[in-house]
C-alpha cells in the first residue's frame, strides 16, 4: 500500500490503514449511503461531516460493523474485510463511541474502562477465576493500561463512581476512555461533542488532539459542528444526502463550492 503522505496543510501522516470502496447502504428503498469511497491514513484525524441526515452515522456504523453495506468493499490493513459482526470488528482493533452514549451504567468508571481491555485478555478461564500465575500478571498489566488512560483523561477523581451518577459531559469522557483502553488501531468517535457546552467542547477537543499526539492513535470522527472539525482534523470527508461532496484538508473543503452550498443552501432559479 501507499506510504506516508503529506497533506496540503503540510502535516505528514502515515500509510492507508482503511479504505472504503464504493460503499452503498440501503434501508428498504432509501439509500443512506450512495457509492462513497475514501481512505483513512495511519495517525491522522479524519473527520466525516455533513448536515443532519447526510449519512454520517450510517458510515461510521458500516466501519464498525453495525451495518453491512449492500455494495462496496471495506479494506483494512491491506486486505479485504469480509462481512463481520460488530464484536469481531472490535476484536480486530477498531473501537468506537456512540452518539447517545452506550456505557455500562451499573458499573464503576474503572470497571467500564476495564471492559475495554476484554479483547486483550488471553489467559484461561480457571487461572483467571483462581487469580493465579499468568492471569495475575495479565490483570495487573491490563489494570496499568486502564489507569494510565484514566489519568490521561483526568477522570481519576471519579474512578470508583458508578457511571449512572455522572453528568453527561463526563460520561462522554468515560466512553472515550473505554474505547482508548482497547488500544485501537482506529478510534471511531460518533459526535463526541454533541450536546456539550462551549467549555466541555474545548476540553473534548483538547483530549482528542492529545490522544492523537500522545498515543499516535488514528481517529475517525463525525461531527456536524463545522468550526470544531476544521480546527481538529487533518482531512475531512463531506457528505450530503448520502453522497460524498468533498474530500480534503479543512482549507480545501472550506473553499469547495458544493460544500458551501450544502451548508449555506443554494438559490434555485
Amino acid at each position: 500500500m501507499s506510504d506516508s503522505y503529506v497533506t496540503a496543510d503540510g502535516r505528514t501522516i502515515g500509510p492507508v490503514v482503511m479504505e472504503m470502496k464504493n460503499i452503498t447502504l440501503r434501508f428498504g428503498g432509501v439509500e443512506a449511503i450512495k457509492d462513497i469511497s475514501f481512505d483513512i491514513r495511519e495517525g491522522e484525524i479524519r473527520a466525516i461531516i455533513g448536515p443532519n441526515g447526510a449519512g454520517k452515522s450510517s458510515m461510521l456504523n458500516v466501519i464498525s460493523g453495525f451495518y453491512v453495506p449492500q455494495d462496496g468493499e471495506v479494506w483494512y490493513k491491506g486486505s479485504r474485510r469480509p462481512a463481520m459482526k460488530p464484536y469481531q470488528v472490535a476484536q480486530q482493533g477498531i473501537a468506537r463511541t456512540f452518539q447517545n452514549i452506550a456505557l455500562f451504567e451499573g458499573m464503576s468508571v474503572l470497571d467500564n474502562v476495564m471492559t475495554g481491555r476484554l479483547t486483550h485478555m488471553k489467559t484461561g478461564l480457571f487461572s483467571q477465576a483462581l487469580w493465579k500465575g499468568k492471569a495475575e500478571a495479565e490483570e495487573v498489566a491490563n489494570r496499568e493500561v486502564a489507569e494510565k488512560i484514566i489519568d490521561f483523561l483526568e477522570i481519576q477523581a471519579i474512578r470508583k463512581t458508578p457511571v449512572s451518577r455522572l453528568p453527561y459531559g463526563l460520561k462522554k469522557r468515560v466512553e472515550l476512555a473505554r474505547a482508548l483502553a482497547a488500544e485501537p488501531s482506529i478510534l471511531l468517535l460518533d459526535e463526541p461533542m454533541a450536546g456539550m457546552n462551549v467549555e466541555e467542547k474545548e476540553d473534548m477537543s483538547r483530549f482528542i488532539l492529545d490522544v492523537n499526539d500522545e498515543f499516535g492513535t488514528t481517529i475517525a470522527l463525525i461531527e456536524h459542528d463545522m468550526g470544531v472539525v476544521m480546527d481538529l482534523s487533518d482531512r475531512v470527508v463531506v457528505m450530503d444526502y448520502g453522497k460524498k461532496i468533498g474530500d480534503g484538508t479543512p482549507s480545501e473543503v472550506r473553499n469547495n463550492q458544493a460544500v458551501i452550498d450544502a451548508y449555506l443552501g443554494v438559490a434555485h432559479d
Binding site: 473501537a95 463511541t97 456512540f98 475495554g116 477465576a129
Partner: protein, 335 residues
C-alpha cells in the same frame, strides 16, 4: 438442656437446609435475569428435565423409548447397562449445554429487542415444551434418584446408607438432621463461590456483566452476544441440574418437581431478582421462616399446613413495603 429449646433448634436447622434448596432454584432464575433480563419461567422444569436425564442415563434407559416402540413395533426400554454417577453427571451437563444452544438458536435469537413480557411468554412456552420433552424422552413414571444408582456405580461405598439421615447427639439431645441436606448445603456453597469467582474475575464473567448492562456497548468492546447468552443458559442449566439432583434425591424425580419453581418466586421477591446473595438469603429466610412459623404458630394455633402459603404471604408483605427485595436494585424512573 431444655427439650423444647432443643427441638426449636432442630426445626431451625432443618429450615435452613430446606432454604438452601430453595436458594439453589432461585439462583438459576437470578443468573438468567441478570444476564439477559429474561424472567425464565422454565427454570423449575429445567431442573426436572436435568434430573430425569441424569436418572435416565444412569439407568441406561433408551431415550424416546415409547416413541421408537410405537413406530417400529419393537419393545426396547433399557440398553442393559448402567452408567457411573460421575460420568452420567458429565453427560447430563453436556445435554444441558446442547439445550442452551438450542434455546438460544431457535427461540431467543429471534426475539432480541422484544418486550420483556414477550420473552417471558416464550419461557412459559419453553417450560411446557421441556415438560413434554422430558415425558417423551424418559417416560412419566416416578423415579428414584440415588447418586449411587446401583451397586458398584457409587462414588464412595455405603454412601447410600449414610445419606438416609442420622441423629446427632449433642447437648444431651438427639438432633435429627438429613445428611442429604448437609451435602446440599456444602454443594450450594461451592456453587455460589464458583459462580461469584466466575462473574467477578474471568473474562467471560466480565463480558456477561457487560451484556447484562448494555448490548450495544458490549458489542463495541468485542463481546459476542450470542456466545454470552449460550453461556448464561448453560450455566442456568448447570444450576438446574444441581438443584434437580438435590430435590430429586430428597423427594424422587417426578413431575411435581417443576412446581418447586413456584416456591422460588417468593424467594426472589424477598431477595431481589438481580442479586445472587439475595437469592441465598431469601431462600434461607423462607426455609427457616416457614418451618418456624409452622412450629410456633401454625401447628398450635392455626391447625397446621401453613407451609403451603407462608412463603407467598411473606412475599406479599415484601411487595407492599419493599418491592425491590432485600438486595435488589431500586428502580427509579424519572418522569
Amino acid at each position: 438442656m431444655n427439650e423444647q429449646l432443643a427441638y426449636t433448634i432442630e426445626v431451625f436447622a432443618n429450615g435452613l437446609m430446606a432454604g438452601v434448596l430453595y436458594a439453589l432454584v432461585a439462583l438459576g432464575f437470578v443468573l438468567i435475569y441478570k444476564a439477559s433480563g429474561i424472567f425464565n419461567f422454565a427454570q423449575g422444569v429445567m431442573a426436572l428435565f436435568a434430573a430425569m436425564t441424569l436418572v435416565g442415563i444412569q439407568n441406561g434407559q433408551v431415550p424416546f423409548a415409547h416413541l421408537i416402540n410405537s413406530i417400529f413395533g419393537t419393545d426396547i426400554h433399557y440398553f442393559g447397562w448402567t452408567v457411573h454417577s460421575a460420568f452420567a453427571i458429565i453427560l447430563t451437563v453436556g445435554v444441558m449445554v446442547l439445550l442452551a444452544v438450542f434455546v438460544q438458536r431457535f427461540v431467543f435469537r429471534h426475539l432480541v429487542g422484544q418486550e420483556p413480557i414477550i420473552l417471558f411468554m416464550a419461557t412459559i412456552g419453553l417450560a411446557y415444551f421441556l415438560e413434554g420433552m422430558a415425558d417423551l424422552m424418559w417416560g412419566s413414571d416416578i423415579k428414584t434418584l440415588n447418586v449411587c444408582a446401583t451397586e458398584g456405580a457409587c462414588l464412595p461405598q455405603g454412601m447410600n446408607v449414610w445419606l438416609e439421615g442420622t441423629t446427632y447427639e449433642a447437648l444431651g439431645y438427639g438432633f435429627f438432621i438429613d445428611n442429604l441436606d448437609i451435602v446440599a448445603s456444602i454443594v450450594a456453597a461451592f456453587l455460589v463461590i464458583g459462580l461469584v469467582m466466575f462473574a467477578q474475575y474471568t473474562k467471560q464473567g466480565r463480558a456477561m456483566r457487560a451484556v447484562a448492562d448494555d448490548h450495544q456497548a458490549a458489542l463495541s468492546v468485542g463481546v459476542s452476544l450470542n456466545f454470552i447468552w449460550i453461556l448464561v443458559w448453560s450455566l442456568a442449566g448447570f444450576v438446574a441440574l444441581v438443584a434437580g439432583i438435590m430435590w430429586g434425591a430428597k423427594s424422587g424425580v417426578q413431575f411435581s418437581l417443576s412446581l418447586i419453581a413456584l416456591k422460588a418466586l417468593p424467594v426472589l421477591m424477598l431477595g431481589g431478582f438481580t442479586s445472587i446473595p439475595g437469592a441465598i438469603v431469601g431462600g434461607l429466610i423462607i426455609g427457616v421462616g416457614e418451618k418456624m412459623f409452622e412450629f410456633l404458630i401454625g401447628a398450635p394455633f392455626l391447625g397446621g399446613a401453613t407451609e403451603n402459603w407462608f412463603a407467598y404471604m411473606l412475599a406479599l408483605v415484601f411487595l407492599v413495603f419493599r418491592p425491590q427485595g432485600l438486595f435488589g436494585e431500586k428502580i427509579i424512573e424519572r418522569v
